[in-house]
């Protein structure tokens, strides 16, 4: 994780998405107008959050298997950055929604999902705050993390498909992949998702390294 090449890759991809995100050709659509470009900026936040949550989950499982405190630190910091990404997705979404759907917080299952996700991770940190003992804290919060993730998944993947949603790909709305997004948009969108996931991981590794260093300092 301390290697540099993927950080340069992330920076390159991000530059590419910013340049082509603002200047590339996009389909002309009523109401959406130019805001369709937000697909390159708002949607990757969501993907980044999911990727970080999954990483957090993986390290929680690892912790329960091996009991190494490092794995717990990984899980916490991934969750931390996931919250930041979730908040950014939430804020950008409400700005975008304000000018296209006419309301910053319309009734929509995806928005409810991200709100509940943020609540779950907030609860995770409250739970962590109520223990003194490191190992006990790590074990119980890992259990909660896995449990919460499992009940969060149906909210993200199943519920939006059963109810009407303003977001594409759910309810009666056709997916972006089918109609709205053409090939030239996909050429920007996938790199954007990659770039933001890598940046999320990068920030998390920075935080993890700080925590590991702090532990070492406290030991000495």
């Amino acid at each position: 994780m301390n290697k540099y090449w993927w950080k340069f890759l992330a920076s390159g991809l991000l530059l590419y998405t910013v340049w082509f995100g603002f200047s590339g050709e996009v389909p002309r659509q009523p109401i959406l107008n130019e805001t369709i470009r937000n697909v390159y900026f708002h949607v990757p936040m969501w993907f980044g959050m999911m990727a970080l949550m999954i990483s957090s989950l993986v390290y929680s499982i690892k912790y329960l298997q091996k009991g190494k405190i490092e794995d717990d630190i990984y899980a916490v910091e991934f969750a931390n950055v996931a919250i930041v990404f979730g908040l950014l997705g939430f804020l950008t979404g409400s700005l975008w929604g304000n000018f296209t759907w006419g309301s910053p917080l319309p009734k929509d299952p995806k928005i409810i999902a991200v709100e509940v996700g943020l609540l779950i991770y907030a609860a995770y940190f409250v739970l962590r705050g109520s223990f003194e003992d490191e190992q006990k804290k790590a074990r119980l919060s890992a259990v909660y993390n896995i449990f919460a993730f499992a009940s969060f998944m149906p909210l993200v993947w199943i519920l939006p498909r059963l109810t009407d949603s303003l977001h594409p790909g759910n309810g009666g709305n056709p997916a972006f992949g089918k109609y709205d997004m053409d090939n030239s948009m996909r050429m920007v969108f996938y790199p954007a998702v990659m770039a933001w996931i890598l940046i999320g991981v990068w920030i998390s590794t920075l935080k993890i390294r700080i925590r590991l260093m702090r532990n070492k300092v406290n030991e000495v």
Partner: protein
């Protein structure tokens, strides 16, 4: 394994029977919340919309569930827990607790529903379907809240954390339950509710499987 679970359930039932005040307290909790709803809706305006009628019932049920399941791990003293630890497997303990809480929740749900009907009037057209929703809800509440109460019981602030930890987790299930029971109220064809039933049953299964796998880690500490 099954004998172990059966014995543990019987033990819990006997314990509950011996300290009836806790159980009576739960019933009283449901009765007084229903009465409060009755005071503030039925007496004031004499009309209540079906959606409100339904949601109110589920919220009352959710709160009584959280309240009664919270104490599933703290009513027993640490010494006795150590004793169980030696004679029973943790996976058997969690399954027994979930089953016992399911019995409790089903009973509480039915009693609560009867009281609710008595006070707020009946608006349900498809009773069997509503009963199914009640059963699925009891299973869902008991399975997801039991593990959470196990986590919360390890902290100092059990009651407060219980609410914080459980509400976001129970929310997806609650929305599905409200939808399903609303379908039952409107007397919709059973085929319309198949999706909801499948999803709730699926969530229940996942949660029970996870509780089974994760509880041993909880029990250790």
């Amino acid at each position: 394994m099954f004998r172990e679970i059966k014995n543990l359930i019987i033990k819990d039932l006997i314990l509950e029977w011996r300290q009836k005040y806790a159980f009576n307290g739960m019933i009283l909790y449901v009765v007084s919340t229903v009465f409060m709803a009755y005071m503030s809706f039925k007496l004031k305006t004499n009309s209540i919309e079906p959606i409100t009628w339904n949601t109110l019932f589920w919220i009352i049920l959710l709160f009584s569930a959280v309240n009664s399941i919270t104490k599933s791990f703290i009513q027993e003293k640490a010494g006795r827990q150590l004793y169980y630890y030696q004679i029973a497997r943790p996976s058997a303990i969690i399954m027994a607790k979930i089953a016992y809480n399911f019995i409790l929740m089903a009973f509480l749900g039915v009693v609560g529903f009867i009281i609710y009907l008595a006070f707020m009037g009946n608006q349900v057209q498809d009773m069997p379907m509503y009963m199914l929703a009640l059963a699925l809800g009891a299973l869902g509440f008991s399975s997801s809240l039991t593990l959470i109460s196990g986590i919360a019981s390890k902290t100092d602030n059990t009651a407060g954390l219980m609410a914080v930890l459980s509400f976001p987790i129970i929310l997806p299930m609650l929305t599905m339950l409200i939808k399903l029971s609303k379908n039952a109220m409107d007397g919709l064809n059973a085929a319309n509710s198949r999706d909801e039933i499948m999803v709730i049953a699926g969530i229940d299964l996942i949660v029970i499987a996870l509780s089974y796998m994760l509880f041993p880690y909880l029990w250790k500490s």
